[in-house]
């Protein structure tokens, strides 16, 4: 027993040190530098106070997020209702298509929409001109274009939270209302909507935060529309370089998103709705009746337009020799774009290696270290474990751009900076909470008596870990690994800020190809990313499905 205590203490010390160095220190430096910047005391705050552009960017960020959130609710709520509570045909397909734009990296969605709806060369405008229309029918490089792409990306938050709430709702409440003589609309108004209201609000706040923190879409679409938001301005001020201004913008962004997340957590995060009975009753399904076909047509048309066509035309574009050659001639198509990005171009081939290496390293370390932290949080009563839990979750709650700035400030003078290792290091910081949260979930399900039984039978602590705990949390560990590997493989937001110039990531390389005007190469690389992401997601769905069957 003596050995267990010392071992735990050693692990405790190690974990605390790692968390302090990788998370607390960069955040402390960020706050410190905002006070005592490169250009003197309080420069960052002087920037905020004196530069009217600061308020333009802040206003733009909030305005965009509010409008995107509004449309996210308009689309997400009815769609969730149709999928969960009606006899809409093909509900599984609807669910998959709704989530599809969400699993793609934001920059891939932006690129898909750009090649579809860019002025002059976008397919929509080419078809429009071909039909005799003049000028541009649509222009993705505009505020509505920006809202469109971001809404289609983030309405999933509303859709998923509302769908979950609808699924868990106790149908007897509605039945009671119906039995009391209420019509279907009155039931919806009096019972269903009030019950899912908290979920709508919760999903809306998540969509709001995601819009504020997103970099890829405003960078690729907003900049061309001269609609600048805080994330894109943080990136460009770092290129001046004007670190103090970047810090000032970062703080504003943290305040906006932090505030929204706080409301979300306070009001909705902890509440378990009383409607959760634990019975797995499927709520009553409303028959759509004669309008069923029409509704289905509308839903599938919407999903085709928003998630299938952009992706298909992206694949199509990836085979184009150049954007201005005629689409009708076979000689306009080539495999060279794929050959170029996968085999020939040194930047993109290096990027593929860098991203695979970084994602693999980060997800492995996050899983191992996350499991260690989770074990201490759940299974021990060491001092400061709640603090450690909280600290590990901070970098994920912050916008990625801000985490990038903090990492620059804290580690630019260390030998790790400007080497390949800074990328997995940054991913570790950003995604640690995935590892912790997932394993905490698995550990909570293991009853303490199992371990106690093992110890009583004479097994020591290590044997107990190996024979009892590890097998039980293994699915959780695998899930954590995949959860980190997926987003880091195509990460852009943090990478673009911290990447060493000779080690770009896939996200950075794609973004740079777009920025340098090598569009066809960018399309090919995005198409590759899209295929990989979708395939991995399908594989994950299978694995997690099996895990679910095993009961863990």
């Amino acid at each position: 027993m003596e050995r267990k205590i010392t071992f735990t203490q050693a692990m405790w010390l190690l974990s605390l040190l790692v968390l302090l160095i990788t998370i607390a220190y960069p955040l402390a430096v960020l706050i410190y530098k905002s006070l005592f910047g490169e250009r003197g005391f309080g420069y960052a705050y002087k920037v905020i106070a004196s530069d009217p552009n600061t308020w333009v960017y802040t206003f733009n960020t909030v305005k965009l997020a509010v409008i995107v959130t509004f449309f996210a609710v308009i689309i997400g709520v009815p769609l969730a209702f149709l999928v969960v509570r009606t006899n809409l045909p093909g509900r599984k397909v609807v669910r998959f298509l709704a989530v599809l734009p969400f699993i793609l990296p934001p920059y891939v969605s932006a690129i898909a929409w750009i090649q579809l709806a860019a002025p002059y060369v976008g397919y929509i405008n080419r078809i429009w001109n071909g039909l005799g229309g003049s000028g541009n029918l649509v222009n993705i490089y505009s505020f509505p274009g920006l809202v469109l792409v971001m809404t289609l990306k983030f309405y999933v938050y509303v859709f998923l939270t509302v769908a979950a709430a609808l699924e868990q709702m106790d149908p007897s409440l509605e039945e009671a209302a119906r039995m009391s003589g209420s019509g279907p609309f009155k039931v919806a108004k009096d019972v269903t909507i009030p019950l899912v209201m908290p979920s709508i609000a919760s999903g809306a706040l998540l969509a709001f935060v995601a819009t504020c923190a997103n970099f890829g879409i405003p960078a690729l679409i907003g900049d061309r529309a001269r609609y600048y938001v805080l994330t894109t301005r943080i990136y460009s001020t770092l290129s001046i370089p004007d670190i103090d201004r970047a810090i000032a913008y970062s703080l504003i962004l943290v305040i906006i998103t932090g505030f929204a997340l706080l409301i979300q957590k306070r009001s909705f995060g902890r509440k378990r709705y009383t409607t959760l009975t634990g019975k797995t009753v499927r709520p009553a399904v409303i028959a759509l009746g004669r309008r069923k076909g029409l509704v289905a047509l509308f839903v599938f048309l919407f999903l085709a337009l928003t998630s299938v066509i952009p992706l298909l035309s992206l694949f199509f574009s990836a085979f184009l020799k150049n954007l201005y050659s005629p689409l009708t001639s076979l000689s306009s198509f080539t495999l060279n774009n794929f050959k170029f990005v996968l085999l020939e171009d040194e930047t993109t081939t290096a990027a593929l290696k860098t991203s695979v290496f970084s994602a693999f390293t980060a997800s492995t370390i996050v899983t191992l270290f996350g499991a260690l932290l989770a074990y201490m949080i759940v299974k021990t009563n060491v001092k400061g474990r709640l603090f450690m839990d909280w600290l590990s979750s901070v970098p994920y709650a912050l916008p990625g751009t801000v985490v990038g700035v903090a990492i620059i400030l804290a580690f630019i003078k260390t030998p790790i900076f400007n080497t390949l290792w800074i990328i997995p290091f940054a991913y570790f910081i950003r995604y640690l909470s995935y590892g912790v949260r997932t394993t905490v979930g698995s550990l909570l399900q293991i009853d303490k008596t199992l371990e106690e039984a093992s110890l009583m039978c004479g097994a020591n602590w290590l044997t107990t870990m190996k024979n009892i705990v590890l097998p039980l949390i293994k699915p959780g560990l695998i899930a954590a690994w995949i959860l980190v590997f997926m987003p880091t493989l195509s990460e852009l937001t943090v990478s673009i800020i911290i990447y060493p110039p000779n080690h770009p990531t896939i996200g950075v390389a794609t973004y740079n190809l777009m920025e340098e005007g090598q569009y066809t190469a960018a399309y090919a690389l995005s198409a590759v990313v899209a295929v990989v992401v979708i395939l991995v997601q399908l594989a994950v769905n299978r694995i997690t499905g099996k895990m679910g069957a095993r009961g863990l």
Binding site: R226, S236, S239, P501
Partner: protein
């Protein structure tokens, strides 16, 4: 074992000699093939540059053919990114770069003033005009580049002639719809990423004041990242007019793209694009040989094939290019620009934001 190694070495050496003799015999010039002194230079040099990647790699390949024992590692990015990397290397005290070739003297003078450059006068330095060399001998131009007004020949019938046309509402209204009243009728490169764009913005702000950019912004000019991006946007017709580099347009014209350009009547900044050696180089012999090579007739003529105006006066510039003296110029003080790089970028991004 040792015997085998020695005989192998002799065999390789003999092969090398025979090979070099054969090639030089064939071509009649000894400079274009490895000779005794050229095989003696060995090792790796790191070449940091903002010239387009295909050209940089081509040059490195040619050099490696001539100096078979030297490996040239090319790092290519926009001037700002190259400078960020260099700054980080200088800061950490571990400088990897050996030879640096950036777009404009502003950044190179900044390096010179930091005291990290090596003084070196390449073999053919006297063939390069004096205004394109550092008086103290720390850098020398390897080419000339100039921001020009380029346009899509399918869309634009009456191309602009001077910078002021780009802020003239009357000129804009002469364009076909939708560009006569839409944003993005003109695209310019971003000085935050491109050294040449920084020089251009500085030159224009010296001649017309920052008001020029305020007007440009209100007239709907868009800012793209790089000169290459602007060129592509013009060709594709997304932005029918733009500011980009002369040689890029000449290259695309050669490929048959619908693009043409003018050297604006009110003058442009002719940028001597400087080459320098880092003081810290671990391989000065190879670095010097490489810089000599960059200024050799072979490379200078190679640049001409890419539409670039050579630094050497004894190499004929690309067809249809005026001689440098005949290009209307805005002269700028590079020393002054180098001390105001951050200011210029900041001003520009404030106005364009």
């Amino acid at each position: 074992m040792k015997k085998l190694f020695v005989s192998l070495l002799i065999f390789v050496l003999a092969l090398g000699l025979a090979g070099s003799g054969c090639i030089s015999g064939g071509s009649g010039t000894s400079t274009s093939s490895p000779s005794g002194s050229e095989t003696q230079i060995r090792g790796t040099i790191h070449f940091y540059t903002s010239i387009p990647k295909d050209i940089a790699i081509k040059i490195a390949d040619e050099f490696q053919k001539k100096y078979p024992n030297v490996k040239v590692e090319v790092y290519r990015s926009g001037a700002s990114k190259v400078m960020t990397k260099l700054d980080a290397e200088i800061e950490s005290g571990k400088i990897i770069a050996d030879v640096v070739w950036l777009a404009d003297p502003g950044n190179t003078i900044y390096l010179k003033n930091k005291g990290v450059l090596m003084k070196y006068t390449p073999k053919d330095a006297d063939k390069v005009p004096n205004f394109a060399k550092d008086p103290d001998g720390y850098w020398i131009a390897g080419r000339f580049i100039a921001p020009v007004i380029a346009y899509n020949t399918k869309i634009i019938q009456n191309p602009p002639k001077k910078w002021t046309d780009l802020i003239d509402p009357n000129y804009r209204s002469s364009l076909p719809s939708p560009w006569n009243n839409a944003e993005g009728w003109v695209a310019v490169p971003n000085p935050l990423y491109s050294g040449a764009a920084t020089a251009w913005v500085y030159g224009i702000s010296q001649k017309y004041g920052w008001d020029y950019f305020k007007k440009a912004r209100s007239m709907g000019i868009v800012v793209l990242k790089s000169n290459g991006a602007v060129k592509n946007a013009i060709i594709e017709g997304q932005d029918p007019i733009g500011v980009t580099l002369d040689y890029m347009v000449r290259q695309s014209m050669e490929d048959g793209a619908p693009i043409n350009y003018v050297y604006p009547e009110d003058g442009t900044v002719v940028i001597p694009s400087p080459i320098a050696i880092m003081k810290t180089t671990k391989n000065p012999a190879a670095a010097k040989a490489f810089v000599d090579f960059l200024l050799s007739k072979d490379v200078q003529e190679l640049l001409v094939q890419y539409g670039i105006i050579p630094a050497r006066t004894d190499v004929t510039p690309p067809k249809g290019t005026p001689s440098i003296e005949n290009i209307p110029q805005i002269k700028i003080d590079w020393e002054k620009l180098s001390s105001q790089l951050e200011d210029v970028r900041n001003q520009f991004s404030q106005i364009m934001g």
